[in-house]
């Protein structure tokens, strides 16, 4: 099946007062129709830049330094503005972290849904869209303003705006980060149900590896602007091969047994002033060898997934992998 989103060798930097900072440093990503892909990384890993770049929705100081993005076969980076608008409207649906800042506080909810549907939508269509995201009493919600909604309801409205035109791809960037724990599951269930019903692909961005592994078929783990490991989520989560993926699992609360200790990753993530000539994780890696600081690791196919590590196939890392994540 041909990919609905195809990103190849993408490089994005931000122009700062004191020079360039690289956020995405050579990323490939293919998403086939109907697939759910999770992108995991800490803040500064480049996951949000990657997600937003798919709709060319980056801050004005962002620069595309290389690579290509195709959505529904159209080149996002080179197409004219009118065509870009059309791709955004018809093929992409975005769900943001904070629903309250994603909604317009001055427009009634129904009006915002009508704008998302386009073509003079009537009350019946507006309420149908609000009904699809599980809002009780859509007519009342449509007549209200964003500030009259609870966080969970507001996020449902944001999702309604995203799916209003049945996009081929839903991109959700930390969609539950600002919501109560009790509603997080409900919103993720809703996204899963919509994906199933419409056949859309879902790209879920989050720092929560466990949540993403549960919700997506395929995982990409990002570090320092690169994808360090990608593959079927069960395999990546239970038998990680990249040292960073393993370190991330050991550091996260929720993966330890009773009485167990969490192992923080020493050091801090890098700020990339240039495309990294070596392995960006080498500074913090427990297995780092001299080669890791001299040569940028190529992507190796190992054990059903892709790993960007010089020692992906070596015994060095495989030795204690069983201890990484409890089943």
């Amino acid at each position: 099946m041909s990919a609905v989103v195809a990103v190849s060798n993408l490089v994005v930097s931000y122009g700062m007062d004191d020079g360039e900072v690289f956020a995405v440093d050579g990323v490939d990503l293919d998403v086939v129709p109907g697939e759910s892909v999770g992108i995991v990384g800490e803040s500064g890993s480049g996951k949000s830049t990657l997600g937003m770049a798919i709709g060319r929705l980056l801050a004005p100081n962002a620069r595309f330094l290389g690579g290509e993005i195709r959505v529904a076969r159209r080149s996002i980076l080179s197409c004219p503005a009118a065509e870009l608008r059309q791709v955004r409207r018809d093929s992409l649906g975005f769900v943001y972290q904070n629903p309250m800042s994603a909604l317009d506080p001055t427009l009634r909810v129904g009006r915002q849904v009508a704008l998302a549907i386009g073509e003079r939508a009537g009350p019946a269509e507006i309420e149908a869209v609000l009904g699809r995201v599980g809002l009780p009493d859509p007519a009342r919600v449509a007549a209200g303003f964003a500030h009259e909604l609870s966080g969970g309801m507001a996020q449902r409205v944001v999702i309604a705006l995203a799916i209003a035109r049945n996009p081929a791809v839903l991109i959700a960037d930390e969609p539950t980060a600002s919501l109560d724990a009790s509603i997080q599951g409900v919103i993720l269930d809703l996204l899963a149900a919509l994906r199933r019903d419409t056949g859309a692909s879902l790209i879920l961005l989050s720092h929560d590896l466990r949540m993403v592994a549960r919700r997506c078929e395929r995982l990409l783990v990002m570090y320092g602007g690169r994808v360090v490991e990608s593959g079927p989520s069960g395999r990546v989560f239970h038998h990680p091969r990249h040292p960073y993926t393993r370190a991330l699992i050991r550091a996260a609360a929720g993966n330890e047994g009773p009485g167990g200790m969490l192992e923080p990753i020493p050091g801090v993530p890098p700020v990339l002033r240039r495309s990294s000539p070596d392995c960006a994780f080498a500074e913090r890696c427990e297995f780092a060898q001299p080669r890791c600081r001299q040569e940028r690791p190529a992507v190796h196919r190992v054990d059903g997934r892709e790993v960007a590590c010089h020692y992906a196939t070596s015994e060095l890392i495989r030795a204690d992998r069983a201890s990484a994540a409890p089943a």
Binding site: V32, G38, E42, D180, A181, H207, E217, H238, G254, E256
Partner: protein, 266 residues
């Protein structure tokens, strides 16, 4: 037997807020009826959705809010506001920005509670600050920095240093790790565990994140609609709590990966 009195002792505590809505007065029960004992050196985890009464309960425990019903004893006695000035109670918030004055150097912010306590000697204060920074794993040179010059993890360590410098006997951590990245979060969680083992303060760890809560707590209270629906040892939250609502929270951190549930196999 001469057991020390529990640090926090609440019996049948209820809190009602009066809400004035268009000249009409209505009463809202934030906490309906809670019995709670926290012993010295114990951490009680408090989980529940927003509006469940977690923060209201914490305000009662800190003596900031008198309960409308029931009794609250601090170390076996009726709460005396004087203990607050002694620095016996402390809070660490979600955003360290709220605890640190952006226009004061970190060292000044951290020494402030000592000044309130009445520690006059400048050199003594400086020594206590330096010792405290070492305990939270920060370089002593950071005392001269402003909060804005620190990373999120460093700022939260600073906030913890400020909260603990008076050697409080009770500390509330209110969503203290929720804004931090995974690896920084685990550093701060380990720090909280270590400091408590060293200083033996009683603590209340409020969070919506059950995974973090069970890691630092000995007991966990699950709160909903102003009351506890389950109170159980933290260990129980590793293999499955009883109450349906606790189980729903538990389900968010346990379970299968999506790959196994996929219906669209390639």
């Amino acid at each position: 037997m001469n057991e020390p009195a529990p640090t926090i002792d609440m019996r049948g505590v209820g809190v009602t807020y009066r809400k004035r809505l268009l000249a009409r007065q209505t009463e809202v029960a934030a906490v309906t009826r809670v019995d709670l004992v926290i012993g010295p050196g114990e951490t009680l985890g408090l989980v529940g959705e927003s509006g469940s009464g977690k923060t209201t309960l914490a305000r009662v425990a800190l003596g900031l809010l008198a309960p409308s019903r029931g009794t609250f004893l601090f170390e076996g006695r009726a709460f005396d506001p004087q203990v607050r000035r002694q620095g016996a109670l402390s809070v660490v918030f979600q955003h360290p920005e709220w605890a640190l004055n952006p226009r004061l150097r970190c060292g000044t912010s951290i020494a402030e509670p000592l000044l309130v306590q009445g520690l006059r000697g400048r050199e003594q204060r400086r020594q206590r600050v330096r010792a405290m920074l070492a305990e939270v794993g920060l370089d002593a040179a950071l005392v001269d920095r402003f909060p804005g010059e620190l990373s999120g993890g460093q700022r939260q360590r600073m906030a913890i240093a400020r909260a603990l410098i008076t050697q409080p006997r009770f500390v509330v951590f209110d969503e203290a790790v929720s804004a931090l990245d995974v690896s920084v979060q685990s550093q701060v969680l380990n720090l909280i565990r270590r400091l408590q083992a060293q200083h033996g303060f009683a603590a209340m760890f409020i969070s919506h994140d059950l995974a973090a809560t069970r890691y630092v707590s000995q007991r966990i209270a699950v709160m909903r609609g102003g009351e506890f629906v389950e109170v159980a040892p933290a260990r129980k939250f590793y293999d499955g709590p009883d109450h349906p609502y606790s189980r729903a929270l538990y389900a968010t951190i346990a379970g299968e990966t999506g790959e196994n549930a996929k219906e669209l196999a390639s």
